[in-house]
């Protein structure tokens, strides 16, 4: 067995509806080793969340899957329901974007966390409750609040509860799907700091999904930039952000206003994000790209190694 914790191999997802077929994810490859944190960044509809859900085999029934996702060498798609149940929450845990809908409104936060523990481990109710209190304490919520309901917490506090619940069984991989998008920036800073600390403490692997490049820069070692269901650039955060090569990554970085330095006119990326029902045959970014040629129209460029820390899928850069 390899030391890879999660391997996503040539993975594609297609959703079929009555009217159309939607190509949400196309030939994606990602590997996560233990203790590693990887950021998945892209705009709306890039397929980020679909990958997260697929990792837990939680895709809806109209999704058809090609390729494979291996967790510790076992395909998540060939697991039985029982195996999936033991994996979800205990080995791979997820933090959701909206902490209010992710929590059950009719149970106290303490009960909800204890429930996670009881689902996976053979412990008494009392013991589970004790551990829930410890977990809440760890994420910075006073123990006395464990009997309160989610609606009594603020957004930031709810997300802390979500984090506590996801860490309840010491998962090996944590998937965070836009965990701070619904939060204010000072609260976001608190949550990111907390995640950073916990990740270092427990050396959990992290798959961070976000559209905010700044969050990736703060929290991750590696970054994969997604566009229209494909990964177009991949590498260490330092390498990709300081030396972006793909026209889309460059465009994205130039489109963001900066907090420091000179205020230059923003460079908008022309055109619209590719329609996943009607993707271009060749490079998915080709219709919006300024550097493309005929080859880009016909063939999808494959990932090319620039150096050990940097991979890119583009014909124009070589």
């Amino acid at each position: 067995m390899s030391d890879k914790l999660l391997e996503i191999k040539d993975f594609s997802v297609k959703f079929s509806t009555e009217y159309a077929e939607v190509f949400a994810v196309n030939h994606v490859n990602i590997e996560i080793s233990s203790g590693e944190s990887i950021g998945l960044v892209g705009e709306t509809g890039a397929g980020k969340t679909t990958i997260a859900l697929a990792t837990l085999n939680l895709l809806s029934k109209n999704a058809s899957v090609k390729g494979d996702i291996l967790f510790k060498g076992n395909s998540v798609f060939s697991m039985s329901d029982k195996e999936l149940r033991t994996m979800r929450g205990a080995k791979i845990a997820m933090i959701f974007q909206n902490p209010l809908t992710a929590l059950n409104p009719v149970f106290t936060v303490g009960e909800q966390i204890a429930m996670v523990i009881r689902a996976h481990e053979n412990v008494s109710r009392k013991e589970a409750m004790e551990r829930a209190k410890e977990l809440l304490n760890m994420v910075g919520i006073e123990k006395r609040r464990f009997k309160e309901y989610p609606n009594q917490f603020s957004g930031g506090m709810r997300q802390r509860v979500g984090i506590a619940a996801s860490l309840a069984c010491n998962p090996e991989l944590l998937i965070a799907d836009e965990p701070t998008t619904a939060l204010d920036v000072t609260i976001q800073a608190q949550i990111l700091e907390l995640m950073k600390q916990l990740q270092q403490k427990y050396s959990t692997s992290l798959l961070m999904i976000t559209h905010n490049l700044g969050i990736i820069a703060e929290l991750c070692q590696k970054v994969a930039v997604m566009y229209a269901g494909t990964i177009i650039e991949y590498g260490t955060v330092k390498e990709v952000f300081s030396n972006p090569l793909h026209p889309y990554t460059k465009g994205l970085l130039n489109a963001i206003p900066k907090l420091e330095g000179e205020r230059k006119r923003l460079e908008a990326i022309p055109g619209l994000i590719a329609d996943p029902q009607n993707l271009p045959v060749g490079c998915k970014f080709e219709p919006r790209c300024t550097k493309c040629d005929d080859r880009c129209k016909e063939f999808m460029p494959s990932m090319v190694k620039i150096n050990d820390n940097h991979y890119i899928a583009c014909y124009a850069v070589n």
Binding site: V185, T186, A189, N212, A255, P257, A268
Partner: protein, 340 residues
């Protein structure tokens, strides 16, 4: 610095309290004053619930003010009669945050953009279409979209329609209430460029409300920071970002994750807890409970005065100088990190 001769809009001690019950009030906007020069942008930043949007709504007279004055070209627009008020609406417009709910789903884009001309009767029926087409050229809406309905457009294009609608009557002043926060970055850049180009061409003033500090820095000439219904700091953009003085502004600025610095060494001021409730807040400084550098004066019921610390730079903090000193140290440290 504000050029007093060039002021288009001036708010004086603006207040908006929402009555919740006999004894409790929500102090959404509490004694706010600011000036906007013509052709310039005032950025308004703060976290959710600090009263940014309420200011926008009060300025647009969408909700009545509790107290205060709002001078447009020297005239208090809270006191004008109905006819004048109707005329003034041509001059002041608003772009809303959510381009999905701010366009009538049962009207085509042409109808939406014609509405202002029809209501204000600025031109004859025949000219309306011509004016709408001109409008579309300015903001680059393809003419073939005019017969479509809002749901057929993507978020960015809808926001462009929202901008076109605000521009239709040639206003002097537009409130932009989080116009780009629901958009992806590549679309966001296009909208920001569009707003800035229009400002240059038509000398329109903006009140730009946003929670995104980098967007505000990019578009604004002057920036005001709000916390819990109060303005805590206002200064010219470069000044406020380089020479931040209020402890809250400093913390807010340090909390933004950026791609310019690669994590690890970045000093960050983490605020404890959440923004407290604006319902019946205690007297004195509203930020004191989360502040990272309080002094003896802070815990009294005395409210820190909003005073001019440097020319054009107003801060509501007893210890602004000390906060700035700490901030400078912090910037120096960051500078060191850069050199390494």
């Amino acid at each position: 610095m504000i050029d007093k001769k060039n002021v288009l809009l001036q708010a004086k001690h603006l207040k908006k309290y929402f009555k919740l019950s006999r004894k409790s009030y929500l102090y959404a906007v509490d004694d706010i004053s600011f000036e906007i020069e013509s052709g310039k942008t005032l950025g308004l930043v703060g976290e959710s619930g600090c009263g940014k949007s309420t200011i926008g709504n009060v300025v647009m007279r969408l909700i009545p003010q509790t107290d205060g004055e709002l001078l447009y070209k020297g005239k208090d627009i809270f006191k004008v009669d109905k006819n004048e008020s109707f005329e003034l609406r041509k001059k002041m417009q608003i772009i809303f945050q959510d381009p999905y709910s701010s366009l009538n789903p049962r009207k085509t884009i042409l109808q939406i953009l014609s509405e202002a001309f029809v209501i204000q009767k600025v031109c004859s029926r025949n000219e309306i279409k011509k004016n709408v087409l001109e409008l579309c050229d300015i903001v680059q809406i393809p003419h073939n979209l005019l017969n479509h309905y809002p749901h057929e457009l993507d978020g960015g294009m809808r926001q462009v329609v929202g901008i076109a609608r605000a521009l239709s009557l040639n206003p002097d002043f537009i409130v932009c209430d989080e116009p780009v926060s629901s958009l992806d970055v590549s679309v966001q850049a296009r909208i920001i460029n569009l707003l800035m180009d229009i400002q240059k061409k038509r000398k329109i003033s903006y009140l730009f409300i946003s929670h995104d500090l980098s967007v505000v820095r990019h578009i604004s000439h002057r920036v005001a920071v709000m916390y819990l219904g109060k303005m805590v700091e206002i200064a010219d953009t470069d000044d406020i970002f380089r020479n931040t003085m209020h402890p809250y502004s400093i913390a807010l600025l340090s909390a933004v994750p950026t791609i310019e610095k690669f994590g690890e060494n970045k000093t960050r001021i983490l605020l404890q807890g959440d923004v407290p409730s604006p319902i019946n807040p205690e007297h004195g400084c509203r930020f004191v409970k989360r502040c990272w550098m309080t002094g003896p004066k802070c815990h009294t019921s005395e409210e820190p005065p909003f005073k001019e610390v440097e020319s054009g730079h107003y801060v509501a903090c007893f210890y602004a100088e000390k906060a700035r000193m700490l901030m400078n140290e912090y910037t120096k440290n960051r500078g060191k990190i850069n050199n390494d």
